[in-house]
């Protein structure tokens, strides 16, 4: 068992989310950065969709009553405190926590970070997922004084010998795609025509700053006001993580994993799936820009080959090399392999 001794900032248990219930109003939820969740799990010897602790700003303090193997994906100041003294814990590799020792996770320097334990964490599994969704009390809560059970077959279970050697991965793997700079790629939204051309240009040419009221449901952005044509409200239709809603005040809201399933504001654009994890790392004050791409069905599949007139699509030529498609590093769909054409 893991005891949560302290939890100064919101941390939640997350896996890859709860698809299949959005028609019943149940949000997708799941890790803000599924890539890093998968990396933390890989280091702990888990499948990529095992539940782990998602942390922002600062992590919790935990105590284990049995030996455990764990790993952190993300830049976190962490140490193990025990009778034998204190030792620093580096991210991007696995470590052993011995029975009775405390794991102290302090500042999270990477926007978001994941803490995985070998065997996974056995929170409440509801509608196919252990992801926590606060408003409907789905999944187990996480907070001071609560305890978490580490999954069966893990070194945490008494009598099970510690298995698996401590493993590490090159730190640079953790850089992708979260640290990629360059604009976030967006597809013009379902209500693009509800904005003036001036507002659209302003959206693509301006820098936006992530505002204070930001949580797992969405990021509010400060920047130029985006002007509507014919009002900001629509009869609600479906939304999705990455959709950028613009209410009547002209301030965009980028939806994240815990967003509702439908919404009544105009959507100017939608961030593509490949760039979605980067939004999960954005903290208040983070500066964001957007670049429009089209998604032509004939060229954006996995086998599409028609490049732009100039050979390479413009957004590749423009030097966003770090967001270029790569071979998958782990067994998980790699959405970055999409071919998307820059809009002129």
């Amino acid at each position: 068992m893991l005891e949560i001794l302290a939890c100064p900032f919101p941390a939640t248990l997350q896996d890859t989310g709860r698809p299949g219930y959005r028609h019943l109003g149940v949000p997708l939820s799941g890790a803000l950065d599924p890539t890093w969740l998968a990396l933390a799990n890989a280091l702990a010897g888990n499948p990529p969709d095992a539940a782990a602790i998602e942390m922002r700003l600062a992590g919790p303090r935990l105590k284990s009553d049995a030996d455990a193997l764990f790993a952190i994906a993300g830049e976190v100041d962490a140490r193990i405190v025990g009778e034998a003294g204190t030792r620093a814990v580096a991210p991007w590799r696995s470590h052993r926590l011995h029975a009775g020792e405390e794991l102290h996770l302090d500042a999270v320097r990477s926007g978001v970070a994941y803490l995985a334990f070998a065997g996974g964490i056995e929170g409440r599994r509801e509608l196919g997922s252990r992801s926590r969704y606060e408003r409907a009390d789905l999944g187990s809560p996480f907070g001071r004084g609560l305890t978490l059970k580490v999954g069966a077959g893990s070194p945490c279970v008494p009598g099970t010998p510690l298995r698996g050697r401590a493993t590490a991965i090159p730190r640079r793997l953790g850089i992708l795609p979260a640290r990629a700079d360059g604009p976030l790629r967006v597809i013009p939204g379902p209500q693009r025509e509800r904005f003036s051309d001036a507002a659209w240009q302003s959206f693509l040419e301006s820098e936006f700053v992530v505002g204070r009221d930001t949580d797992r449901m969405g990021l509010r952005l400060d920047g130029p006001r985006l002007e509507h044509v014919g009002g900001a409200d629509i009869v609600s239709d479906a939304v999705t993580p990455g959709a950028i809603q613009v209410p009547g005040d002209g301030r965009p809201i980028v939806l994240l994993a815990d967003c509702q399933t439908v919404g009544g504001y105009t959507k100017i654009a939608t961030v593509i799936g490949a760039d979605l994890p980067r939004l999960g790392h954005a903290l208040p004050g983070t500066r964001l820009r957007f670049a429009a791409v089209t998604l032509d069905g004939s060229t954006c599949g996995t086998t599409g080959s028609r490049a732009g007139a100039g050979g390479q699509p413009r957004h590749r030529r423009a030097g966003y090399g770090r967001t270029r498609p790569r071979r998958p590093l782990w067994r998980q769909p790699d959405r970055r392999s999409h071919r998307c054409h820059a809009l002129t």
Partner: protein
């Protein structure tokens, strides 16, 4: 009809821009036809009053394929083939008193007695047009035309769970306690959302038809107890 891109993992087929029962009937028919195609890679099919959105994994299912499937599902023949009459589900509601604090105001605003208002609500079929806002929160269409009131000027900070409410020509039932600006007419003893039942976590699904049965406070208590032990 308009086909709209909602990012690279979702497509929306828009049947109209307003709240329209005819558009919603077409949405439900298209949803049923799309479900029947049983495409691998679709994760969610979300109907609303006026649109149908398909969430899918673009690596498993190319965009073009989804586009074609949506248009096919919305075509006249598919829609007709899957259009069906739905038997109404009984929705027990205890009106007025502490369960429906706005009943008297709504009756007065519409120039009816409370009894006439309740009788009118029990006489219509209510269609579940969509579920949203909260898990299991149904938006219901089919109210009499004269029952179209704006929201309350001051929203309540806490609407009790299971409240039956109306506003903007629609009715709804709150599965959870939450803030809300709708007029509260009554309360149902039914549990609206139960995550322990993955086959049907929400009591109602889009496309269902409900018929209200007015119950007394005593019946409310009995039903609630019975459901609690069921």
């Amino acid at each position: 009809m308009k086909l709209l891109e909602l990012g690279d993992g979702a497509l929306t087929l828009e049947f109209g821009e307003r709240i329209d029962p005819d558009a919603n009937a077409n949405v439900m028919a298209a949803r049923d036809a799309l479900r029947a195609l049983n495409l691998d890679g679709i994760t969610d099919i979300v109907p609303t009053w006026r649109s149908l959105t398909v969430h899918f994994d673009p690596l498993r299912l190319p965009h073009d394929r989804v586009r074609r499937a949506l248009l096919q599902a919305a075509s006249e023949e598919s829609a007709l083939a899957t259009r069906r009459s739905v038997a109404p589900i009984i929705l027990p509601v205890c009106f007025g008193g502490e369960f429906g604090p706005d009943l008297a105001d709504v009756a007065a605003a519409t120039g009816r007695s409370e009894g006439e208002l309740i009788a009118a609500l029990c006489a219509v079929d209510l269609q579940v047009a969509l579920i949203g806002f909260l898990p299991g929160f149904p938006y219901l269409g089919g109210l009499p035309d004269w029952l179209d009131l704006p929201r309350r000027a001051t929203p309540r900070t806490a609407v009790p769970a299971n409240s039956f409410a109306i506003a903007g020509g629609q009715a709804a039932i709150y599965p959870w306690q939450s803030p809300g600006g709708w007029h509260l007419l009554g309360r149902t003893p039914l549990t609206l959302f139960d995550p322990a039942n993955p086959q049907r976590p929400a009591r109602f699904a889009p496309g269902d038809v409900l018929r209200i049965e007015a119950i007394s406070p005593d019946e409310f208590t009995v039903l609630r107890e019975r459901l609690r032990h069921a």
